[in-house]
Every structure is written in C-alpha cells, then in structure tokens.
Amino acid sequence: MEKLIFEYSRPGRRAHTLPEAPQVNFGVPERRSLRLPEVSEIDVVRHYTRLSRQNYGVDSGFYPLGSCTMKYNPKINEQIAAFEEFAIQNPNTDDWRMVGLLRILYETEKMLCKIFGYAAFTLQPAAGAHGEFTGLLIIRAYHLDRGDTRRVKILVPDAAHGTNPASCTMAGFKQVTIKSMPDGGVDIEDLKKNLDDTVAGFMLTNPNTLGLFEKNIAEISELVHAAGGLLYYDGANANATMGIAKPASMGFDVCHLNLHKTFSTPHGGGGPGSGPVGVTEKLKPYLPVPIVEYDVYVNHYFLEDCLPKSIGKVHSFYGNVGVIIKAWAYMKMQGAAGLKKVSEMAVLNANYIKARLQGVYDIPYDRVCKHEFVISVKEFKKQYGVTAADIAKRLMDYGYHPPTVYFPLIVSECLMIEPTETESKQELDAFCEVMLKIAEEIKTDPELVRSAPHSAIVGRLDEVKAVKEPDLNYFLC
C-alpha cells in the first residue's frame, strides 16, 4: 500500500517556486501553524502516480457496473473541455464575450430536446440526484402555481435508486413507496390504491433498475395524469432508449439525465457529473434561472435571468459547464443516428452476456433485458455459502471491475451487469468465460471464492471497525 502524502513530509522541503510574498495585514489574527505536507515536486508526482495505479478505471479494463453506464470516455472530449477559451472563463463575464461557450450550451440543450422529446432542458444540476431535486421542485412549483396546495406526496417504486426517495424529502414532499410485481414491473394495483389528489407525482426509472422496460408505461401514465399528478423520468438508464422511444412521448413530464453515464463524460471517481433536467412546454416557466437563450435577429446567445415563476437557482453559477462541453462533443460525434446505435449495441451486449450466463446463473427476470440485467446468487449462498460480494471480489482476481452488488434492494444477493456499447464481443466473451469459471469454483472450491480477492493489494476490509472507531482525519488519529 502507498503511504499518505503527509508521511513523505520533511521540514523545509518544498515543491513550489512562487516569489517571496511581502508582509501584509489581514486585520484578524493569523494562524500559528498549518500542517500541510512539505514535499518536493517528485514526491508529489510519484505519490499520486502510485495512487493512480491502485485504482481501476474504464481505461484499465471492463467495468460492468450496473446502473452506472461505465462506457468509454473519449479522449477528444477531455482535450476540448480543457481548452483555455472554455476552461479559463469567469462565470460573471458578460454574455457577449461568451458567444462560443453559450452556443455550446445552447446546442447541447437543443440536441437533448430532440432525442428525449422535451420543450426545454436546464443544464444546471451538477449530478443525477441534483437533477431529481430540481425536477421535483419544478413539479412542486407547477402545482402551487395552479393553487393546488394539497399535493404533498410523491410515489416512488421500491426498486428505485435511493436518491429518488431522498430527493423527495429534500424537495419538501412525503414519499410513498409503491410495490413491484414479481416480473419487476410497477404493481398497478398498489399504484391505483395510492393515487389520489394528494399525489404530486410518480418517479419512475424506465427501463427500471432491473434493466426491464416498463411495459405498462402507457397505462401508468394515464393513471397518474388522470389523478392530476405528473410523471418523473429518472434517466439514469437512458442508455437503453435513445433514439428508440422518447420519454416525453411516454408521458414523462419531467426527466433528468446523467451526462456522466449516458453521454460518455467520465465519472471522475465520484464526480463531477451533470444532471440536465428536461421539461414539457407547460413546465418551462418553472425552470431554474438562468436559462440560455438565442436571439436569431441579432445572432446573440445570452443568459436569461428573468423568469418570474422560476424555482430559483440551484447552483452558484450554471452547473458543471466543463462536463457539459464533453457531452456536447459526444453528441456531435454520434449524431442522432449514432445515439440510437448506442442504445441498440448496449442492449445487444447486455442480452448477449445474459444469454451466455443463462442456466448457470439464476436470472430472476427471464425476458429480453435492456442495457443491463440482474442475476441472483441466493442459491449459491444457500448451498455453498458464497455471496454476491464474494463473486464480486473474485472477479477482481481475474482483472475485472465487479458489477453492482446488492442493488436494487428488492432482489436478494444480486449482481447487476451493464456492459455498455463500447465493449467488443471478445471482451464480453472473456468476461463470460470467467463468470462461468467462478460458478465452477463455487461448486468445487467455495472457500477460494469466499476468501477472494487474492491478488488485490489489500484483503477484506473491516467495515464495521471503520464505523465503530471512525478514523476520518489524519490529524485526529
């Protein structure tokens, strides 16, 4: 394991070459000490290079992490976003100096509108959850603006991502959980039971978090709208439907996307992301400010701050512009037809792995999947004491990033596999071979799998101790 940067510190060592600073007065007491590392430039370079080698990214290998769409992050996108003309810009600068950048934002919005069928998008939310929050505030503003103050509830399926219910609470709603059917779809009866005039909306992920398309979407949409509610689309799984079906046409009034999933921007080890929110015409007045506008007559792009019914601001400036530029470049490279092909190939890849693992692994929802699917290893657990987590760790021994485990919560001992469209048949075959081999190992040598990983730089971590004796700060331990 690599040491902490603090452990390389030697008094008096330094990397920077800044000029001497003059004596100045801050008007308040100055601090006596600041214990940051005292290291040389090469110390910094070697330390973070070593750390990078203890990481695993899409560039390192196959990363079938379900619900996360870990596709290839094109290098050209990184290069474009880093250009000084875009990266070194103060957000308070006048619009007329920002024509290139504002145009990129405007075009991004328009391309998203075309693919998903919305009247407008805001690009401000900095991640998916931030988008959910923004979308829910728009729903709230819509009802209140009509003088309907009784709609205090949002319905959320039990299979939904945890951010959905958490966003409801933050947006001031009470969330109500809706059950799923044995086939993974929404339990329509349970939905009907909960639909009344206190319901502001229903949040749905489609394809859902099991990777299955919600077949009853037309009926669901009718029911929710008949009850006066709005339909919200969690677009985390949009990689399965681009160019195939528009969420707006399916009846979703509001939608968020994850540019750091579907639109190839890198995940950064946990962000920065970007979670644009699309709305239908009737919800446009409530979008957060500012919005990017274009005046054809003077060929002028500008930020519009004056939206009297807007929910307000959700970000200190305009969201993660540096991320949005990458998604813009990606859409330009793909075109509308390319984005459709993305979804086709993503779904092809998922169904291919599913077909190859069928029979050996238990696939609880046995129908055509979309861009991902779920397997359950509860039988392996019962018979051999091997869990989903064990299989995940064993996959690391074979050089893979594991699939998502234990999500969604409604399937026990589950692994959720999402290959994405950027993986070749050879890559998928190699992965399937390893999965089949592990299934064999489980039967012949379960301990080998239970005690994995064997090749990682660290062994099994004591996560209970991490909570019981929190060590969260180098200077406190």
Binding site: M1, P37, N90, A245, K246, N320, V323, Y352, G459, L472
Partner: protein, 427 residues
C-alpha cells in the same frame, strides 16, 4: 458515429446466441407507438470535423476576449502548477466510478482521505466530507444540518453573502419551510458568517459567534480556503466553502468544489460521502467509504441528503494542489493576493473622485465611482479591454489574484486600470 467495436458478423453471431432475428426484436417490449415516432435528426461529425467546429467556437471566444480581467466574485483565476492537471488527468483516476470496491479503489480513497484531512486542518474542524457540488449547495446542506441539530427552522445571514448563494439557499430550503430570518434569536438554527464577504471584506467574527452561542444557534462560516491558510480559523460549528481556488480552473463556474467540515458531534448529520481508515485481514490499514447509514442508498427518504455523485475528481485535484503548495505555498499565494488587493485599492482609491470601501479586503474590493458605474463600465472600461462587475450604479466590484500584474511591466493590469480610470474620468 464512433466508439463501436462491433463488426457486422459479430452482431449477427450475437443475435444468434441470444436467439433473436434482429436488433428490433430486442426492443419488442417497447410499445410500438413510441418506437414508430420520428426522432429529429442531427448529423454526426468525424473527429476532424469536430475539431474544426471547436476551433470556430474557440475563435468566437477569443474574438471578444478582454486583456485585463478584474472579475472575481465567486470564481478566481489563480495560478495552477503544471503538476496538478497532469496528475489529476491520469485516466485511472478520472475514468473510475465512486470507490464502492475498496480493493481496487485505494487510489481515489487514499486521496480523498488526504483531502478530508487537509480540509480539517485548514478549517480547524474535526471531520470533513468527500465534497459537495459547490460552495452554495454546501452552505445549503450546512443549514439543513443545523436545522436537524437544533430543531429550529430559521437561518440568519450575518454579513454580505454572494447573491447567488443566497438564492440557492432560498431554493434549497424554502420547500422544507426553512426560512431566512432577520435577527438572531430563539428560533435561529444557524447564523451564517461569510469570510471574506461578497465584497472581499474580512471582518471579525467574534461578536457574531457570541450572539449565535447565546441564542443556542450553530455558527456556520462560509470561508475561502486560501484565506483560511493564513488566518486563525473561526470557532464555528460548521465551516463550508468553495475550493475552486485550490488548483481548479474557473470553467465558467463549474465543475466547482464544495467542501463541508464540522465538529465531531455533527458527524451523524453530515451529508455526502465520507472516507475512513480501517484494517484488513492482512494487517494493512486501507481506506473505505464509511458512515454510510447517513446516506441515501441505505436510509432512502430519511437520509441526511440526496447527494450521491459529488465532485471527487475536483477534490483529488485540490489535494494534489495543496500537497504541491504545502503551507508555505498556500500562504504565499494568500499573501500575494492580499498585497495585490492592498496595492490596487490604494492606487485606484487615490484617483480623485474614486474611493474604495474601507477595511481589509481579500481579492475582491468595491470601488465607488464618481459617475454611473454601469455606464462607465460599458462605455469606457470595455473600450480599454477591461472586464469588471458593476454592483450598482455607484459601485464596481473588482478582483485581483496573485497572477494580476502590478507595475513596471508594459501590460501590468493594475497600472493599466489606474491609467484608464484616471484618463477616462478626467475627460
């Protein structure tokens, strides 16, 4: 169209293995009426065409470029050493997901633990999280913590806060009936103190701290991390802020880097990811995501926040910047910024008719103008290639960093604006 490895033969083989005839069949579960709809087309470019298009937009940007930028107000043009983007640009870092699998994520986990430790050291707090979207949302999350901790529902803003931050607070908190109050009192959950304030003014917080304490409210300080490197950190309950100045480009406002640090006793109310150190079965001391029962994936609607993806790569970048700079580097940057602010204030304030807001300022400062500031800015400053913000019809908000040149060079920015102001006003 790009990034598809499939050959036509392979697509056919794969369809066969799946047991379907065509790609369309894989979408048979999507009702036909949606599938039949037309998608409005837009063309695909190849990489060469894309670069030509990008260069056109870059040209557009450059065409209207200013020569002397005095715009700050929330994002700052600091010097970024070459090491920082080069290391943060290693793809093992940037192409990884959230470190759910610690065995193959020690790189990100170790760096974020270092980040948390450095933020604690800068703020004088016990615990910090792995980042939030930006300074404004970090402040909103902090108020939300204070509401949980005190059971009260009002926050008071003690000194001038960036108006965008105030708006974000309103958007975030109003739906939960958490409102801005005027006076510190028994219903105050949190008192917000900004350091430096929107105008760059550094003021003493001890009075505000005493009032917050007396009322049983939490003191939240929204502080600049560079300023914290030189001054005694306030005795707050929670310290938040925007860490873009720590090695991140301004990027037209984002990606940014919200940080949040608190005293130990507020750990359970904290939002976001937290990295902890533990042991493994081989005697190592590795790092792992911890204290997760606060978070949305476990606690769902009862979570402390909905945040999931945050700004991890920005936190890594700031960590590399702080490692490279060390205490002496951060403090040098802070002092150079202060010296340039002092110089600019003294120089511009000395022009007859102009004056500056009194007090110690850091980077941002207010210049009172003898004429309509908005018109002056548009009619004169823009003509002279100067970019600045007008606060009102009286005031300009100007900003400098350690990069702003002072005197003796031909293009020195501060002397340039001095010359321009003096000349324009005289005419």
């Amino acid at each position: 169209m790009a990034y598809f490895p499939h050959t036509e033969t392979e697509v056919r083989q794969m369809l066969e293995t799946i047991g379907v005839q065509s790609l369309e069949e894989l979408f048979a579960d999507v009702p036909e009426k949606y599938r039949k709809e037309k998608i409005e087309d837009f063309p695909a470019l190849n990489e060469m065409e894309l670069m030509a298009e990008v260069n056109e937009q870059r040209f557009q940007q450059n065409h209207f470029k200013y020569d002397h930028c005095f715009t700050g107000a929330g994002r700052y043009d600091h010097f970024i050493p070459a090491v920082v983007p080069q290391l943060a640009g290693r793809s093992e870092f940037y192409t990884a997901y959230t470190p759910y699998q610690p065995e193959i994520s020690q790189g990100t986990l170790t760096a974020i633990y270092e980040f948390q430790s450095m933020i604690c050291e800068l703020t004088g707090m016990d615990v910090a999280n792995a980042s939030l979207y930006d300074g404004a949302t970090a402040l909103a999350e902090a108020v939300s913590m204070a509401v949980t901790a005190t059971g009260r529902k009002e926050y008071v803003i003690a000194n001038p806060l960036h108006p965008n931050y105030a708006q974000v607070l309103k958007t975030y908190l109003t739906p939960r009936n958490i409102t801005a109050g005027e006076k510190i009192g028994q219903s105050t959950a949190a008192v917000i103190f900004v350091l430096p304030d929107y105008h760059g003014l550094i003021s003493d917080w001890s009075q505000v701290l005493a009032e917050a304490k007396a009322a049983g409210a939490l003191l939240i300080v929204c502080a600049d991390p560079l300023l914290l490197s030189v001054i005694e950190p306030p005795q707050a309950d929670i310290i938040v802020g925007e860490a873009q100045p720590l090695g991140l480009p301004m990027s037209y406002g984002g990606p940014a880097l919200g940080f949040l640090a608190a005293r130990q006793n507020y750990l359970r109310q904290m939002p976001g990811r937290i990295i902890g150190r533990t042991t493994d079965d081989r005697g190592n001391r590795p790092f792992v995501l911890t204290m997760q029962t606060r978070e949305q994936h476990i606690r769902r609607e009862k979570a402390t926040s909905n945040i999931c993806s945050n700004e991890a790569l920005c936190a890594l970048t700031a960590t590399i910047y702080m490692s490279y700079m060390g205490a002496s580097g951060l403090q040098t940057v802070a002092r150079l910024c202060k010296a340039n602010t002092d110089y600019a204030m003294q120089k511009l304030g000395s022009i007859p008719g102009f004056s500056v807001e009194p007090g110690e300022h850091f980077r941002d400062f207010v210049l009172h103008c003898p004429t309509d500031a908005r018109e002056f800015r548009i009619n004169y400053l823009h003509e002279d290639g100067i970019e600045a913000i007008s606060l009102s019809d009286k005031d300009l908000l100007l900003s400098v960093t350690e990069k702003t040149l002072r005197e003796s060079t031909e293009n020195s920015s501060i002397d340039w604006i001095y010359g321009c102001l003096e000349r324009e006003w005289k005419n």
